[in-house]
Structure formats: C-alpha cells, structure tokens
Symmetry: D2
Subunit: 299 residues, 4 copies
C-alpha cells in the first residue's frame, strides 16, 4: 500500500506550485501522509498540518512514492536526490509530455487514483557513477540518469582523448566531445548528436561522439556491466565534464573520467495506460504525415 507520499516540485514555477498545493489537499483527503520540500511548502502556501516538511535530500527516507511535478529537468534533479533509495518516482508534467514526466497535470488525480489501486508498473532505470581521477586520486564523483559528457571548452578547437573499456583500448579520437549515456539518456543529448534510441529496459551504455573529426567514428552501444575510461590526451586544459546537462566539472590535462553503471538503479513508476513506444511516437512526431519527405508519387 502506498501510504507515505513525497512531492518534489519545479521551484519557481507558479503552476507547478499550485498543482502541488492541490495534490497535498487531495492526498490528505485520501488519508495519506504527505511530505514536501521545505521551501516548496512555503512557496505553495501549504498549511503545516497538511504536510511534513523536509529538505529534498531527506525527503525519500521512509516514503512509498515520490511524485515529481515539473518537467524532465525537475525529474532528473529529483532522481539525483532520491536515486540511491529504493523509492519509486512518478513524473507529472505541466502541459508538455516529457520522456520522464509522462502524466499530464490534468490527469494527475485520475492517474493517482488508479495508481493507489495498484494499476501501475515499476521500471528499473540504469544510472551511472561518474568519477574524475586526477593524479590517481578521485576528485569528483557523481551519479547521473541521462548522461556524462566530456567536451572541449568554447575557445578550444577540439578535444583529443582515448577511450578504454574494461582496460581494452577502444579508440583515440579528436572531436568536440563524447557523450556516455544510459538508455534513458539516449533520447536526450545523444539523440541530437546522432545517436540511436535505446530501450530503457536494455542493460547497455551508449557512447556518442560529438562532431568527430574522423568520419568513420560512429555511436557504439556496449554492455551495461563495463567500465569506460576516457583519458584526455592533448595539453589544452580547457575541457569540461557535464553531468545530466545540469552541472559541470572543469577538467585538467591527463584527467581520467571513469564511468560505470551505478549499483543504484532508479525506480520509475508508470501508470498502465501509457507505454514507452507511445511516448516516443508523440515526442518524435512519428504519427505525423507532415515532417515527411515529400517523395514523388506516381501521378
């Protein structure tokens, strides 16, 4: 039984905060115990007796479900806070279907009613542990749901790097950057760099070069259990590691970035009414006749 519900909300978004307040009230009526993030509670004028307040990091402790209200960016940030606990997350979008926030806010109550009756399934999504190694020491360690991107700085003309997988040399390359993505991340930045779509149930990692100088360089999909190591080989220190497109780490010459599947996969709750391929079709407009190449038909 889903009894203890946490809510994480897109912060400066008035509509998301209003939806949060309505959701708190509705959950109260259902007799649920509700916890919200401290500053959200204040911003959304949620009375003290309606919901407990905690910092985002403590939110998932003891929760049965965390509802995220906002866009995919909010969901990803929430995943970072929640991901190491075994609590399922359900994403509610504010009007625009997300790959992760698949419930439109108008269907929030109808969906939650079904969910409370058990009409849902839980999917485990791979996350990545990303470490920066400098002079044999771990400088930085992070967990991402979408991708880790190593890329040149704006003024640099390119990045030179080596990739090894499980200590086997894979390739050295010159490019604008390299995206290492989870299947979840395959429909994010990697897609715009020319990568394939990878079904989230697959235990796999995707390496997609950004503007590679060698034209035969191609996206590669490798088993999820490997250790990927990227070593910067040129002198230029103007390079960056970007984590889920949300935070960045300045890199130095000869830094090594080590990426592995995390032991913590993220539990994503899906209502039974939607499926992955339907979201793909909607987001990528596969159903549309427009957007088609107008190939000549017989007259």
């Amino acid at each position: 039984m889903l009894q203890k519900i946490g809510i994480i909300t897109k912060r400066p978004d008035q509509r998301a905060l209003q939806a949060t307040a309505r959701l708190v009230e509705w959950l109260n009526q259902q007799g649920k115990s509700v916890t919200v993030v401290e500053d959200i509670a204040i911003a959304a004028h949620i009375p003290g007796q309606q919901a407990r307040r905690q910092s985002q990091d403590n939110l998932p402790e003891g929760m049965d479900l965390v509802v995220v209200i906002g866009g995919d960016g909010t969901f990803i940030a929430a995943a970072r806070a929640v991901g190491h606990r075994r609590v399922p997350i359900l994403g509610v979008n504010m009007g625009r279907l997300g790959f992760l926030t698949e419930v439109p806010v108008e269907e929030m109550f109808a969906t939650l009613e079904k969910v409370m009756q058990g009409e849902f399934h839980i999917e485990e999504r791979t996350t990545l542990e990303v470490s920066v190694i400098r002079h044999e020491l771990v400088q930085n360690q992070s967990r991402v749901l979408n991708d880790a991107v190593v890329h040149k700085g704006t003024l640099a003309r390119m990045m030179e790097y080596n990739v090894t997988i499980d200590n086997q040399f894979v390739f050295s390359s010159r490019a604008d950057g390299l995206i290492v993505a989870t299947p979840t991340g395959s429909t994010a930045y990697a897609l715009s760099a020319g990568g394939p779509i990878i079904h989230p149930a697959l235990d796999a990692l995707l390496l997609t070069p950004i503007c590679p100088h060698t034209l035969t360089n191609r996206p590669i999909v490798v088993p999820g259990a490997v250790e990927i190591s990227i070593t910067l080989t040129s002198d230029d220190s103007n390079r960056l590691l970007t984590l889920d497109g949300q935070s960045g780490v300045q890199l130095e010459s000869e830094d090594r970035i080590v990426i592995q599947r995390s032991q913590y996969s993220l539990l994503v709750m899906h209502p039974n009414t939607r499926n992955y391929y339907e979201i793909l079709r909607t987001k990528l407009l596969w159903g549309e006749r427009a957007g088609e190449v107008p190939l000549v038909c017989k007259p």
Copy 2:
C-alpha cells in the same frame, strides 16, 4: 496578360476533377480561353463550349499559364510534358501542402484573382537531361525535375560504380545506389538518404549516395554546369535507373549514365503570399516544439 490557360489534373482523383470543373467555369466567367486534357474533360463532365480539349503533350502550346491540380507527383509528370516550352506552371494541392503544389484548393480562386492582377513571380527551376549510353550509343534520354537515381536491383547485394565529373575521376564506390538531384529534388528522395537542402535558385547539382559502404562517402554539391558520368563497374546486370521516381530503365553492365543540366529550365509560378522557407518550415515541422529532443533543462 494571362489569357490562355491550360489545366492538368490528377487523373483518377474525384476531388481534383471536381476542382477542375469549377475552375473551368470560373475561368470562363473571367473571359479566359481554357484548354484541358481530353480524358480529364470527359471525366469531369466539362461541357464542350467551356474548354478546348487536347492531349497533355499538346496542351502547353500557345498557353500563357498551366494550372496543375493534384499533388507533387502530378506536377512532376506535367513538368515532363510542359517543361521544354516556356510556359509557367502553377500548382494547386488537394489538401496537403506540396513543395511544388503550394496553393491549397480552397485558396485556388483567391490566388488566381491575385495572379491575374500580376501578383506573382516566376522562378526558373533547373531540370536535368539524363542519357543512358550503351556501346557508345544513346539508348534512352529523359528530362527530370527532381532526380535520376541509379540503384541496385532488389536481389543484388550492392552496386559498384565510378563517377566522373567533366572527365575528372571523382570516386568509385559500392553502395545501394546514387541519387543525382536538382535543388528541387533535394527535398525529395535525396533528403531521406541524408542529403542537404539546396535552395532552388542555386545553380547546382547534388550527388547523394544511398547506403554507401565506405563510411566517409558524403553528399557532394557541384556546379550546375558540369557533366556527371556514372559507369557501372560490376558484372551484375540487375540495376536500374529511376527518373523522378516515376519511370525506370533497366541497366546493363558497363552502361554509362550521363547527366547534365537541361537547356530547358521549368518556369514555376509562385503567388507572392508564400515563400520557400515558409514551405520548408511547414513541411519539415520546424515550427513545432514537439519533435524536439527533450534535452534536460536546469531544474
């Protein structure tokens, strides 16, 4: 003054035939002299005094304007019949915007009223002369508006060929095929094979390989004044030349396909209310938020 108007219509399409009948009546009321294709006249029940009847090939003789009612396929077939005469063509679509048939049938009369007042511009579109040379003899000669495609037969595993441009060797390749397109054709088959979009005002030809085996093979844009020669180098006789996607020529070993800009460019009439980039945006859904890669935004 546009006085003598011809009409070419998508043949078995009832709605296009009805639109043709209405257009004949309307043009009669304007005091225009109207000519339609013989079998269209019969199919659309157009009374004899309302319009002259001629075969499609004779239609453009002495015309000031030819209106094409149908889709881009109808337009392209009409271009073949009309293209060698200096008569402008205006394309009317039956509900779905075409790259060539840009006037929706509902706006047909409003547009023609403006056109009769001189509110239009004429664009010259490059067409190609395509010859098949076998044992030093010209076997087949055609004119295309979009593209000439040399490709392997279904059971063949690939095609081997050499390309020379103005007698300079360009490359030999193995691929499913090679598309030689005009700028007009760049938004047709070539686009689905990975080619760029080329503005129709550019005097250029586009070579786009289909599934090339060498990964460094890329689309090439060359000046319009060149002579492109494609020689088949493998033994397999199971290969084809397709012209504007509408007709095909079986090729034999050592056939040479020679492609040059035609001396006849096609005169396309555009109402002043639309422009090329707007059609691109509409056809390729560039305005749509959906179809975007959902890159993660800051939460």
Copy 3:
C-alpha cells in the same frame, strides 16, 4: 580436447582450396580427425585417407571445431549450416580481415597451435529466427546471423509498414526498407544505413530504417528477448525479405514478418591474441590520421 575438426571452404576460390589442403595435411600430422565437405575435397585434391567427406549440413555432427576458410560471406553461410549445433567456428580469411574471419591465412597454423593448447575463448553470438506469416500460416522460416531486411522492390517507390514489438504498436513508416540486425549484423548493412555499432556480447536487436521518409525516424536498439513483427500495409506486392544478404523471399500484401532471437546462438572461437575493438579500429580505419576532417588548427 579438440580432436574432431571440420573444414568449410569458400567454394570457387583456388587460394582457399589450397589452404584447405595444407590444413588437412597439418591436422593429420597432429593426429586430428578431419572432415571436409565432399565437393571441396574433390576440388582441393585431398586424398581419401586424409579426411572424411560429408555434406555441409552433416559436417558439424560430432565435431569439436569447424574451421571456415574464406571471407565473412563463407562464414555466414557456414553459420546457417552449423548454427543449431553447439560446435564452435573459427574463421580464417584469405588476406582481408573480416569481422568474423579474423585469422589471416598466414597465421593459420600458428593460431591453431595456440588454439590446440587451449588459448582461445568462445563467444556466443545471437542469431535470429525469421518467419513469414501469410494468411495465418508460416510460409518460410530461416535463421540469420547478421540481419533480416524487409525492403521495397526496385520499381516500387517505397514500402509502407507497421512495426509492433511484443504486441505493442511501435510505429508505422514509409521507407525504402527496414533492417532488423543482431549485434553481429550491426557492423554490416545496418552500419551503411546509419545504424550504431553494437557490441556482440549485448543481448539486443537493432532496427534501422533505410531512407525513411519521416526525418525523425531513427535506429532503435531493443532487448534481445522481444518479438518484432513487421506488417506490410500498402497494396504493392513488389517487396522482398532478404536474409543475411544471401537469399531472398518475395513478399505479398499483408504478409507479416516475425523476428525473434533464436534459441541457437552461434559459438564463435576467438584466439586470445585479438579483441573486438582492435578489429573495429582496423576495419573502420580509426587509427588513421587520413580520413580525418581537416579542422583548422591555430596557425
């Protein structure tokens, strides 16, 4: 202990036949029991006492190892004959490194010496079962190592089809064709159609459209355990199913092609001296400076 050795050879290739004769002699000296395909034995003048003779289909029965001498095409044909038995295959190429035939003929004896001492590893490669369903009846059933390709006939202008995966509708599309590939097949035809490289250890299938008319259509990688079903939706009967690029089945309207991972994976023997990434680098010229885009460097 590897005692019973079978040999399959590229048939009309004199050098491959000579290598076969030498290998038979060498294996005899090692006290191995050798079996070759009947017509190869005759073509290569192998004395009767040196090797048993069997048809290719019966060859692997009771073998400990099958050596394939030729190119990747020979290997793939051999895989069809051998694939349903649990016998490892080792590929020897005649001068050009293959993805599957990774031992150069000059290193054949040195490699086999090591192999006889146990210096090898066996890799399981996914194969696919491909069925054509017509009027609810299975018309044709095949097993492929690389790919099954459903594609339009040469004269057709495109193919319309629906894809479902595990009975969930995925997309309907118009394209030249659709490639369903194993990870092994990802470096074959799918690569030239724009697909990613998939590590052979991954339990996954790859769907790559050929010249899709919708520009947002992209290659998709799905879990290996799914059932993929492709239904032809347009009337045109001019369509084909090609299996491993070696044989074809004419398709009819409303045919359904069902593709699943086979219960038989192929056992590929690798000497310990080579690894997958090294073959990738060599085949795709990743090590080469040439073939690079000459991006401008600071002067």
Copy 4:
C-alpha cells in the same frame, strides 16, 4: 611574370622555417625578389641581402605570389592578412596533404619551377564578411575563408536563435550552435557536424546546425549572394562567435550576427598536376578498401 614573391611560414615549426630558408635561397638563384615576414626571417637565419622583411600585413603589397609553408591553419591565417589584395597564394604542406596546402614540401621546388613556367591555374575562393551588431552598432567585423560559428558556451545547455535570409524568416532553432561556411569550409568543421561537401567553384553558402534539438533540422545550401542574419533569442549571454576556428568574439543577448559573401575572394594558385577530387579522395580515404562496411557477399 611572377617576379616578386612573398613567403608566410608556420611560426614555431623548425621544419617549416628550414624549408623557408631553402626556398629564399632558391628564389634568389632564380633572380626573384623575395620578401619574408620579419620574425620568420630572424628565426630562419635568412641573411638580409637574400630577402626583404615586412610585417605579415604589409607582405602582399606589390607581390606577384605569396607562398605559404605550413598547414591549412597557417594558410587560413595568411588568407586573412592577404585576402583583400589580389595576390595569389600557393600552399606548401610539411608532410600531410591539406585541403589548402596541396604541395608537399619535397615537391616544392619542382612545383615552383613549373609554376614559374606558367603551369598553374588560379581559383577564386569565396570569403565571408562577418559582423556582430549590438544595439544597432557594428561591434566587430571580420573576414573568414572557412566558416563563422555561433555556438553556446561550455556551461550553457543550448543556444536559441532565429535565422533570416534576405530578411525572410528561415527558422528558429535550439542547438549547440550553427556553422555558416563557404564551400572551402564545407570540408572543415561543417563536415564533422554532418554537412555536405560543396565544390569550391560554387557560389554558395552552407548552414549546418550543430546537434540540433529538432531532428528534422538539416544542412541548407543557399545562393552566395544572400545576407544571412542570426539573432540570439534566449537570455543566456554565454555564447560565442568563432571565426575560422582561430579567434572568438563573446556574444551578448540579442546580438545579431550578419554574414555576407565578401567582395574579396581569395586567389588560390593550383599547380596543374592536382585536382580537387583527387584531394578529396586522398583526405577522405575514398580509395581505400579498408574503412568499408563489410557487407556480406554471397558465399
């Protein structure tokens, strides 16, 4: 008659400096008047009587030919200094064929001998004028031979921009950046971002998006005579304009970048022994069998 020869050399490169000293001596023997850049003369120990010395910017005044010794980067920098004068440039590479420096240093004297006898042709290469407009004022104006790239800063997650051509709205997009390239630049950065190859004789400009978020966005080739205007539409001020990959301009919100073909085309001298397609083939390894996708052949 080519009498007055200038030399521009890759600065810190010892082999280029040695080649320069040898070239000065050789030209002296031919009775030519030689001018070198001041600091090169010192670095290469060229005696005062052998060559005049001038700053790079003054070098081409009154010259009949400028020889560039180095790589394509040196050539491009030289083009900036020389481009507005009508003096031809000949590029000598130090061992690696460049798209612009096509004479290997070992063939330098043999080539120049032929050149002195008139065995060369001059090609006019389009260059671009790039202006940054801020609050209606021109902030910065530059001329490029390859490309102008507007792109997001490293920490920004994307760039939002509008493109207009000759005051017609073309598209608004979200991407990592946009490359506007000359035909010369089509084989540089634009190629690694997925753009086509454009023959340098074509009067055309190429727009190639970098990692566009809308999957239907494609490279576009437009006539050379247009005015392209790019307006930044998002607030983020972290964006940059990069010129020929060699210098950068920090951009501000609502900056407008205006790009037009320059009135100064660059005169490039080619020996008659080489042609454009041959350089393409060599650089992109089109002649190589390796690098091919190993499509399965019939066994």
